[in-house]
Symmetry: C2
Subunit: 211 residues, 2 copies
C-alpha cells in the first residue's frame, strides 16, 4: 500500500464544538432514538399504527433539521480527538447507531470497555453480527493506538472468530498497542463473553496521522 492516500491529513476538520451541558441533552436524545431503533426492529403493532408512528417520526426529524449542522459536532472536553468525536458510530454519545461503547484507556495502555448489545446488532440468530464485532474492535484498537502513539488510521485489520458472541449479556472488550515502528503501530484486541472466553480476536496495523 502507498502510504500517501491513507496518510493524508484528516487532521483539521472545522467542526462545531458542543459544551458538556448541550452534550448531555443531545446524549439523552440519542438514547431515546436508540430505544426507538430497537422498538422499530421488534414492534408487532398493526400496520395502521406503524404508519401513524412513521408520520410522527418524520415530524420530529423536521423539528431537529430546523437547525442542522454541516457535519457532526465535536465535544470540547473528551480525551484525545477520538474522545471528542461524539458522532462516532461506535463510541459516539450523540449517534443512535453507536451502542454506544464507552472506552477507557488505563495507565497500563489497555483500552477497556463493557457493552451489552441488543437485537438491533444481530447477525446469526441470537448472536452478534460478525461485522459489528469488527466495527467495535476497530474502534477500540484505534483508541489504544491513539493513546500509545497518537491519532492514526487503520491500514490492516485481521479478525479471528473463535465462538459466537452472544447478544443481551455484558461483553468485555480489551485492546492494546503492542509495537510502534516508524509511522506504523501494531495493536491487538479481544471480545470476551461473560464466562471470560474470547469470542473474537483482532490484530491491526495503523498508520499515524499528521506530519
Amino acid at each position: 500500500m502507498g502510504e500517501t492516500p491513507m496518510g493524508r491529513a484528516f487532521t483539521r476538520p472545522e467542526r462545531d464544538l458542543v459544551p458538556d451541558d448541550e452534550l448531555a441533552v443531545l446524549r439523552e436524545l440519542a438514547d431515546r432514538v436508540r430505544e426507538l431503533t430497537e422498538a422499530t426492529v421488534l414492534t408487532a403493532v398493526d400496520s395502521a399504527e406503524a404508519a401513524a408512528v412513521s408520520a410522527e417520526v418524520a415530524a420530529l426529524t423536521a423539528r431537529l433539521n430546523a437547525r442542522r449542522r454541516e457535519a457532526p459536532p465535536f465535544n470540547t472536553t473528551g480525551t484525545g480527538r477520538m474522545g471528542r468525536q461524539i458522532g462516532n458510530p461506535v463510541t459516539g454519545l450523540i449517534n443512535p447507531i453507536a451502542p454506544p461503547v464507552e472506552v477507557e484507556v488505563g495507565d497500563d495502555g489497555i483500552a477497556r470497555a463493557e457493552i451489552t448489545l441488543n437485537d438491533a446488532y444481530e447477525g446469526p440468530p441470537t448472536f452478534v453480527h460478525g461485522g459489528v464485532s469488527a466495527l467495535i474492535l476497530d474502534q477500540v484498537l484505534g483508541m489504544a493506538t491513539a493513546a500509545a502513539a497518537g491519532p492514526a488510521v487503520t491500514a490492516g485489520l485481521e479478525l479471528r472468530y473463535r465462538r459466537p458472541t452472544p447478544l443481551g449479556v455484558p461483553l468485555r472488550i480489551e485492546g492494546k498497542a503492542s509495537r510502534v515502528e516508524g509511522r506504523r503501530v501494531y495493536a491487538g484486541a479481544t471480545i470476551s463473553d461473560p464466562e471470560g472466553r474470547v469470542t473474537v480476536e483482532a490484530t491491526a496495523t495503523f498508520v499515524l496521522l499528521g506530519p
Copy 2:
C-alpha cells in the same frame, strides 16, 4: 480454532414471519427512523427543543412497544436466509442501524451493492469509519458465500485499507466466494469509490452451517 463452537446450529430460530405488505410499512418506519438518526447527529436546535423532541421520541417508542416481539422477525419472501433477515444491521430493511445495503447476487456468483453513507457512519472526519467498511464487507462476503455454498458464519476476516472511503458519494461493493474446501469457504470483496479505485479490500474464511 475448534470448529464446534462456530459450527453449532444457528439454523432453527423461531421467528415471526412478516409478509411483504407489512414489511413495506415497517420499512417505511425504519426509513423515517434512519432520517431521525442522521438528524440527531447533525441537529443544532437549542437544548429546550432537543429535550422536547426527546420526550416525543420516548412516547413513540412506547407506542411501538405496546406490542413487541421476542426477537427480530424474518420476511417470508427474501432470497435465502440472509435475504429474509430483515432485522440485519447491514441489509435489514426494518433496522434503522442498517444503511441499508441492498445486495444482489448475480448468476456469476458476484454479490453486488451500491451504497451512499451519511454522516452517521463517519470515522476520520469526512470519511467512512473503517469498522463500518468491515461491517459491510463481512455481510457482502457472507452473502456471496451463502449463494455459492450455503449459509455460513465468519471464521476469519482480513481487511486492507488502501485509501480513505468517502462519505456522501455512491460506493460500489463486490464480493465473491472463490473456493470451497470441505466445510470451509474462501471469499473476497472490495469497496470502490466513484472513480473506481478500491478503497478497502477484504478476504474471509467462512464455516458452513448445518449437518
